[in-house]
Amino acid sequence: MTVSFVLLALLTLSAAVAAMSMPRLIHCALALAVAFTGLGGIFLNLGAEFVGLAQLLVYVGAVAILIVFAILLTRGSEVSMRPGARSAISGTVIALAVFAVLAHAVLTSGVSRMATTAVTPSNRVQEIGVTLLQQYVLPLEVIALLLTAALIGAVILAWREKSPAAQEGAETR
């Protein structure tokens, strides 16, 4: 437990708490982005460059922006509300359940039994690439397919069905 880890952990946790308790949705989203950044920092602190930076790129750069955009487009930024007590219990239960599953998975996997001394491979990014494209190429492709399907689905959902009148309008335009 180094000082930097404590600082990062504190930052991440407080940002996460803020993300749950702020009255305005936009503030929550921004706090969430800070939490993501802190998480990326923890990865970097552990020497996992690629994961940490990918975390930043994907979560801060894409996911947080997406959340913010969604809030903006749905007028959620206008209303300010206290977190409702109605969903508090179910939310806690779900969170605990997810945490239990994840903890179980982590504890029973090989990670917990591995040596805790860090090994520093010479070329980590390259190794990740090689592993992804050789050992785990099938899961990778499956995920790619899944994402493509999701993308196409989104496009189809967003596709505006053209009424005959609109079609005509489009032609004469």
Partner: protein
């Protein structure tokens, strides 16, 4: 004769490494407990000094350049040739009143310029500005650059949203939509380089290119995929940094400066600074990826220090940016999106394919020409087809005014 030559190269080497040597000397000559501080300061202070200085220079160069393009003089009053204009501007922006709208979200409004400037500065951490001159030796430096760059979007959003002004909100929405769209081709076009160089480290990418066949360097821009990649990269970079002709988020004529319309005084200056810092950073990355970074354009020119080459290239890039700004009108939003998704993205993907083909075709004597031709065809044919698709069969003709000309 040989002795002289050796001495000359030795001297050149010395000058080339002068900053590195100084850095080393300064660190080893400070007492142990302060070493970390000195070594950090020696990295941070030059970055904080050089690039804002370049920013100051660029503002006056840009105005003079644009002026000349429009047959004007440009600023020529403050100092010789108007070169002290940035100082006048700085004094002006520092002494102006800082106005914060009453309905603004104070904290976020305050934080936005800080976030945008600090992320802009962070990007320089992984730019090799000379041989052995890089702030942080990151193995995944490129990824760091893009990750940091994506944080600017959030800052832009913060600025636009917290101002509580419809124009700034519109500007922020435009900015985010545009940045997300152009980040994809930006990253994809650099992937071609990563594939060929086999590394994510900017230093190593430059070292790859700093080799010479005869007197000619191995810059990636001199290959078909590299050339296309370079153009794609710089176009996407212009869009990513809201540079004209992609300056819709700022659109002075329609949304009066967009997301920073509610900022005044020093905060406005910070936004301005951040914008230019981003342009320099992304130009620097383009130089690193495609134009051989700090390496000399011809092998015998390597006697000139590497950092001079880097900054010379950077100045050229800035000049091109100014030139383009003086030439092209602003795009419309739908044109912008069409261009990103229907042209840039497919071209970037094709460029990746081309880089793969280039990598796996043998480089033998006969193959050199053939490889060139094949790869060029891979680029040119889709380019023509996509350009046609973009035009959608429309012909650009003289505009006919139905009512205006009758009277």
């Amino acid at each position: 004769m040989n002795g002289y030559f050796a001495m000359a190269t030795g001297l050149a080497e010395r000058v080339d490494q002068i900053f590195v040597t100084f850095d080393h000397w300064a660190v080893t000559n400070t007492p142990e407990p302060l070493r970390w501080l000195v070594s950090i300061l020696l990295i941070v202070v030059p970055i904080l000094a050089v690039f804002p200085g370049l920013f100051a220079l660029t503002t006056v160069l840009e105005r003079k350049g644009l002026g000349r393009i429009q047959n004007r003089y440009g600023p020529n009053r403050v100092g010789p040739y108007g070169l002290l204009q940035p100082i006048a501007d700085a004094v002006k922006s520092l002494t102006k009143e800082d106005v914060v709208p009453r309905t603004a979200d104070g904290v976020v409004h305050y934080l936005a310029p800080l976030v945008i400037v600090s992320t802009a500065f962070l990007a320089y951490a992984v730019l090799p500005v000379g041989r052995n001159m890089i702030a942080v030796h990151l193995d995944a430096g490129l990824l760091f650059f893009f990750a940091i760059g994506s944080a600017t979007e959030l800052a832009v959003f913060m600025a636009g949203w917290s101002s509580r002004n419809k124009y700034s909100l519109l500007g922020a929405m435009r900015a985010i939509a545009q940045m997300i769209s152009y980040e994809v081709p930006l990253i994809l076009s650099s992937i071609a380089v990563i594939m060929i160089a086999g590394t994510l480290s900017p230093e190593k990418i430059v070292l790859e290119q700093a080799q010479y066949t005869g007197i000619f360097p191995h810059w990636y821009v001199f290959t078909p995929w590299g050339f296309a990649g370079f153009l794609l990269f710089m176009t996407a970079a212009a869009a990513e940094t809201n540079r004209s002709p992609f300056d819709l988020p700022e659109g002075e004529s329609e949304i009066i400066a967009g997301y920073f319309v509610e900022y005044s005084g020093f905060k406005f200056a910070l936004f301005f600074l951040a914008e230019y810092l981003e342009i320099f950073a992304v130009s620097g990355l383009g130089i690193t990826l495609f134009l051989g970074g700090w390496s000399a354009p011809l092998s015998f020119l390597a006697v000139i220090p590497s950092w001079i080459w880097f900054f010379a290239k950077l100045l050229v890039m800035i000049g091109v940016f100014i030139w383009v700004r003086g030439t092209m009108p602003r795009l419309r939003m739908d044109q912008l999106m069409n261009f990103a998704w229907k042209f840039m993205l497919p071209m970037a993907l094709i460029d990746m394919v081309c880089a793969g083909v280039w990598r796996f075709l043998p480089g033998g004597a006969l193959w050199v020409v053939l490889r060139w031709l094949i790869c060029a065809a891979i680029i040119v044919v889709p380019y023509v087809a996509l350009a046609r698709g973009l035009e959608q069969g429309r012909k650009i003709e003289q505009r006919v005014y139905r009512y205006a000309e009758e009277g």
